[in-house]
């Protein structure tokens, strides 16, 4: 820009002026359009977030009835990590496994819907979203029935000797991960479908024409072109499942407690607001760091 200004100053100022005139008008409309969301987020995200940060630094000896004192008590964070590193790591682990399973299941499903479903495409998409018509809680509770000790799944697995006679599914990590996978699968399938559906089929034909067998063609063409969907699907699955507490609570035992349940009980049962707030912040920062690393690694900014 500087070199252009040097060579043709008159023309540049002309262009700049017209740009400003149109830019200002566009800007005003843009700000107006942003306004409702900004107000909403300001009231219900920024203010509570500020209050959460503040709470996480309160003196932990205070209580709901006596009130809290702001002492910038950073040790809240250390204590939270010390006391709850089990649930924290478990949350990331369960969320990671569930996201991995979702990715495999979701990719195959999205690929089939995009490339093979033909006229059933729309119906299949509706079926993917169909679980949203009932509440999250009800669906998770019904998993409790499915995985129950005298339910047909456990019976079948016991008959096949895949599960010992006193083995169970409920209150095990398997149940929690299965619940997470089930509940967040649509969040994986939809962005994956959007990405895969956009891929020009002729590119896959071209890869075959250029000596790539179907498997190589998939990894060289289809997979890289679907990466935007892989990244957004993974984020949409991993982030909420890392903070989820319903699945661990309904399908797991105290041994499968995830950090979400801990935060919830610190807030509602133990009334330990500073610890709960600090733990929330830690979870948020952990997820943020992992997401940044992941996005960097996937290199999606280079894609279309």
């Amino acid at each position: 820009m500087a070199s252009t200004a040097g060579t043709a100053p008159v023309a540049v100022t002309d262009i700049k002026e017209t740009k400003d005139a149109s830019g200002r008008r566009r800007g005003r409309v843009g700000y107006l359009l942003l306004l409702p969301a900004v107000i909403w987020l300001g009231l219900f995200f920024v203010v509570p977030f500020y209050s959460l940060v503040a709470t996480s630094l309160f003196d932990p000896s205070g209580s709901d009835s006596r009130g809290y004192e702001m002492t910038y008590h950073v040790a809240n964070y250390w204590n939270a990590i010390q006391d709850y590193k089990g649930p924290l790591l478990r949350s990331l682990l369960y969320a990671g496994i569930a996201t991995g399973i979702c990715l495999v299941l979701g990719y195959v499903l999205a690929y089939a819907i995009a490339f093979k479903a033909g006229r059933w495409k729309n119906l299949m998409l509706v079926l993917v979203i169909a679980p949203f018509f009932t509440s999250f809680l009800v669906r998770t509770l019904s998993w409790k029935l499915i995985l129950a000790d005298d339910g047909f799944v456990v019976d079948a697995l016991q008959t096949l000797h895949l599960l010992g006679d006193d083995g169970r599914l409920l209150a095990t990590p398997v149940a929690v991960v299965a619940g997470l996978t089930y509940n967040f699968l649509p969040f994986m399938v939809l962005p994956l479908f959007a990405s895969i559906d956009k891929i020009d089929h002729r590119l896959i034909e071209a890869s075959g024409d250029l000596y790539a067998n179907p498997i190589v063609g998939f990894f060289r063409v289809t997979w890289p072109l679907s990466l935007p969907g892989v990244v957004s699907g993974t984020l949409l699955t991993f982030i909420p499942s890392a903070g989820d507490y319903i699945n661990a609570q309904l399908l797991g035992s105290p041994n499968q407690r995830m950090v979400g349940s801990v935060i919830q009980s610190l807030f509602t049962d133990a009334n330990n607001y500073p610890a709960a707030a600090a733990l929330s912040m830690i979870l948020m920062l952990l997820v943020l760091v992992m997401v940044l690393l992941f996005v960097r690694r996937a290199g999606t900014e280079e894609l279309l």
């Binding site: 020009d200 002729r202 590119l203 034909e205 071209a206 890869s207 075959g208 024409d209 250029l210 000596y211 790539a212 067998n213 190589v216 060289r220 063409v221 890289p224 072109l225 280079e302 894609l303 279309l304």
Partner: protein
């Protein structure tokens, strides 16, 4: 759709491509034998026999839906034939997978990989076959298609003509025995298309590979190819060198699809060994026997508009020919180098005449009385059973 196909089939390629077919087992080029592809009851390609000599620039020309792209896709392996066989250098490749045959394609919309840069697009085939010296080979290819400075750009950053050249380089670098070009210039504007035609022809001469070019643009086919096969309704109507097809069409479809033709109804009076005489609305015209393709006693006398000479009534002819008096000019369009006339004949038909503005004649005006004539060796005779307007191009399209 199937009705049209049946009509075409009964009409038939009366004398077919005419040439003797080679034995596919020993032929060193590409041979298609009785190749058929149908989608349900619709026959896209029907009983196609074709020999494409090694090293030739071969064009498959026809209107959209004539089966030329389906034929190409079967050669590429992207479509499985319903029946018939494809052999390349004596090897049967009818059912080989696309990645198993020494054939590469330049796709209609290029199908460049958007996530790879130009270098990697061109290198794709080499890398899949684990070739050595990828770097050097790709550089050489990029030079051949004049894109060596664009190697690290993404396809979306290039112009249409450049993308076209990437597609060409990406296919050519694999040294295919046959290169297939599927309407490769369809997306380019006219000027770029002309220069790419020359460019592709130059590259073909340079690499000496077999090119099969599918197009609906007759001018493109004629300027680029050594041999043109005109396809219609899934069969080859006629095949030959561009000049041969143009000068001696065997069907009304070819006569109209390649350039323009005047077709005038006539009764065949006499068939001598070398000359066929036809009574054309009371005027006797003669046609060389090798140019007569009408089996019955009626036929269409065909003459190209630029072969028709226009002159004053009673004017002496510069060569002995068929003379038709009684014409009245009904339309004149002056193009500069030439003038295009429509001349209404006594029997009501309007004939087209393209006249070079050599200065030998004055410009005729609408309403002028004129005489038309042509040298008999340029006339041809077609089967009266065929539709006189088959393959005729609409004024507002090039298809």
């Amino acid at each position: 759709m199937s009705q049209v196909v049946e009509a075409a089939a009964s009409e038939g390629p009366s004398d077919g491509p005419g040439e003797q077919l080679a034995d596919p087992a020993t032929y060193d080029g590409l041979a298609l034998r009785a190749l058929t592809k149908h989608f349900g009851s619709f026959y896209a390609v029907r009983d196609l026999d074709l020999d494409v000599p090694r090293g030739s620039f071969f064009a498959l020309l026809g209107p959209s839906g004539c089966g030329k792209t389906t034929t190409l896709r079967m050669v590429a392996g992207l479509e499985t034939p319903s029946s018939g066989a494809i052999t390349l250098s004596g090897k049967d490749i009818t059912y080989a997978k696309p990645y198993q045959r020494p054939v590469n394609t330049v796709f209609q919309n290029y199908a460049l990989f958007p996530h790879l840069d130009i270098f990697e697009n061109v290198a794709f085939g080499l890398r899949r076959r684990k070739q050595k010296d990828v770097d050097k080979t790709v550089r050489e290819m990029l030079e051949l298609v004049e894109l060596d400075t664009q190697a690290r750009k993404k396809p979306a950053q290039l112009s249409g003509g450049q993308q076209q050249r990437v597609a060409l380089g990406r296919a050519l670098i694999n040294n295919p025995e046959v290169l297939l070009l599927d309407e490769p210039l369809g997306a380019l504007d006219l000027k770029l298309r002309r220069s790419m035609q020359i460019e592709i022809k130059r590259i073909q001469t340079e690499v000496g590979r077999t090119f099969i070019h599918v197009t609906h643009d007759q001018e493109e086919a004629m300027t680029m190819a050594d041999t043109v096969a005109v396809m219609n309704h899934g069969v080859i109507e006629q095949m030959g060198a561009p000049a041969e097809l143009y000068e001696n069409p065997r069907s009304t479809f070819v006569a109209n699809f390649l350039g323009q033709s005047n077709l005038i109804e006539g009764n065949i009076k006499n068939r001598a060994a070398d000359i066929v005489t036809v009574d054309m609305h009371g005027i006797d015209v003669s046609i060389p026997a090798p140019r007569a393709h009408a089996p019955g006693d009626r036929g269409w006398v065909g003459i190209r508009p630029e072969k028709v000479l226009i002159g004053e009534v009673g004017e002496e002819l510069d060569a002995p020919g068929n003379t038709i008096p009684g014409g009245v000019v009904s339309d004149v369009s002056f193009v500069g180098v030439s003038t295009q006339y429509l001349v209404r004949m006594p029997w009501g038909q309007e004939l087209q005449v393209f006249s070079q503005n050599t200065g030998r004649h004055r410009l005729f005006a609408v309403g002028d009385q004129v005489e038309l004539s042509w040298r008999p060796e340029y006339a041809f005779l077609l089967d009266a059973a065929q539709d006189a307007f088959a393959g005729a191009q609409k004024l507002d399209s090039d298809g």
